[in-house]
Amino acid sequence: MIEVKQLKKKYGKRHVLKDISFQAHKGEITCLIGVNGVGKTTILKGIMNLTPLNGGMVEIDGKPLTSERYEDITFIPDTLTMMPSMTVKQSMDFMKDYYRSWNPKRAEDLLTFFKIKKEERISDLSKGNKAKVNMLLGLALDVDYLLMDEPFSGIDLFSREQILSVFSSHLVEDRGVLLTTHDLTDFETLVDKVVLIDDGQVVREFYTEEMRETEGKSVVDVMREVYQ
């Protein structure tokens, strides 16, 4: 379980995150939703210690997160973070080199799944393929938790479909996924849990099925309530 308690973050005098607390469980897909600039990415970066926080705590399975535990949890940013001069294979080798949790078989499966050629240079890849390689590098790790920042932003429809299908496949099976998005189209049926963020605070935290069952509202309905 990823437990985020009372995260606070200031940029200068602006409080971007005032009080963010939520939980994301293993085996579930949790989605952080908010309009652009609301600080979703900052939360993920804060969890991974990529930006300093002004308060709060992050615990993974009850223990604080240290860099040695990046074998258990990984972060897939919204851009591919490999050097453009590297080939896909070199990128994969890099990961294999540094992570014990790298799963070569799954990596190969993912290559086939995404239909990507190993020999291609990253600088030659299309935008969609870059996004897929980015997913691949994170998904091929045998980690318990996956954080993804805007996995569908700015990619073409077909790539989007392919990446979407990842979430209902065995590739994220039994793992905890925490992702951010500002647009839920096509995606609503895949999410277990939604955390709505507005004005630096968690406004709603709910399971989608429960929401449908008890209040008969879709996620978009709730969003509409919150943001209008």
């Binding site: 970066k45 991974m48 210690n49 990529l50 930006t51 300093p52 860099s67 040695e68 535990r69 990046y70 074998e71 990984t74 972060f75 940013p77 851009t79 591919l80 973070t81 490999m82 050097m83 453009p84 890099f94 080199d97 540094y98 992570y99 014990r100 949790s101 990253i122």
Partner: protein, 275 residues
């Protein structure tokens, strides 16, 4: 440790092109310079000979052409300067390149399952080993030039010098090869210390941006103060230290600054860094 070694090799190979071309450039420029300088020397000798000047006369006018004199020519010094400037530049660029562009590689590095100081030390020793490699190759090149000169210049117009003499008296050399082994360690560890302070300054900037520049300036001032505090004490009190004591004090202050820089850098990298 294992990840540190991998990262070191990775960073070192990233600098491979720059590093090898610096070595190549040094040898090329110095070699070409040696060729031109000796040719122009020989043509002057020929001219004087035609005028009927004796060997002694020529020598008193032109002097010998030897390795020691050659080290003072721009051909020899320029590549060394270039190397120093390039390495200084790369000491800064080695950090900023990971933040540059769309593919911010620093994400990848910071997310590695290892102590983040491994990144710091990998970059530190990449620079340090490049310096040592460049200086060592310069040493070998000196031997090559020593062997080349008698092939170009006839015996009467040149003189055999030992490499040690050239290093002791030649331009720049005493900074690259301090006189004795203890001073070699002293000088190069001081260089390493300076590099560590520089890295800390960069991390300040990377963590706090504009405010970081101010903090970095403060840290640079503090470092200067700490390092030269024995000297300031000496100047202020006019008390003289024995040389061994001076040496000891500078060493202690160097170690203190190294320790401080490691502590501060570790703090910045694990607690304050922003991507």
């Amino acid at each position: 440790m294992n990840i540190f070694l991998k990262l070191l090799a990775f960073e070192f190979n990233r600098f491979k092109k720059g590093y090898l071309s610096l070595i190549g450039l040094t040898f090329t420029i110095q070699g070409v310079g040696l060729f031109f300088q000796s040719r122009s020397y020989l043509s002057k000798v020929e001219m004087l000979k035609e005028e009927g000047v004796s060997t002694q006369g020529i020598l008193s006018q032109l002097g010998h052409f030897d390795l020691l004199n050659y080290t003072y020519s721009l051909w020899f010094v320029a590549p060394i300067m270039l190397g120093i400037v390039a390495l200084l530049f790369y000491s800064v660029f080695i950090w900023y390149r990971d933040w540059l562009g769309k593919n911010t590689f620093i994400y990848r590095l910071l997310l590695l399952p290892a102590k983040r100081m491994s990144i710091y030390f990998a970059k530190l020793f990449t620079i340090f080993l490049s310096v040592l490699g460049l200086v060592s190759s310069q040493y070998l090149f000196l031997h090559v030039y020593k062997w080349l000169i008698p092939l170009i210049i006839s015996e009467e117009f040149t003189q055999v010098q030992s490499i040690a003499q050239v290093i002791e008296q030649g331009a720049f050399m005493v900074f690259l090869f301090p006189k004795t082994l203890p001073f070699f360690f002293f000088a190069y560890l001081t260089g390493l210390m300076v590099l560590m302070v520089l890295f800390t300054l960069i991390l300040f900037e990377r963590s706090f941006h504009l405010k970081g520049i101010l903090l970095a300036t403060g840290y640079a001032g503090l470092s200067l103060f700490i390092y030269f505090s024995p000297a300031i004490y000496q100047l202020y009190t006019r008390i003289i230290f024995a040389n061994s004591e001076t040496f000891l004090w500078f060493s202690i202050m160097g170690i203190v600054l190294m320790g401080l820089s490691i502590l501060v850098s570790n703090f910045l990298l694990t607690k304050k860094i922003t991507v």
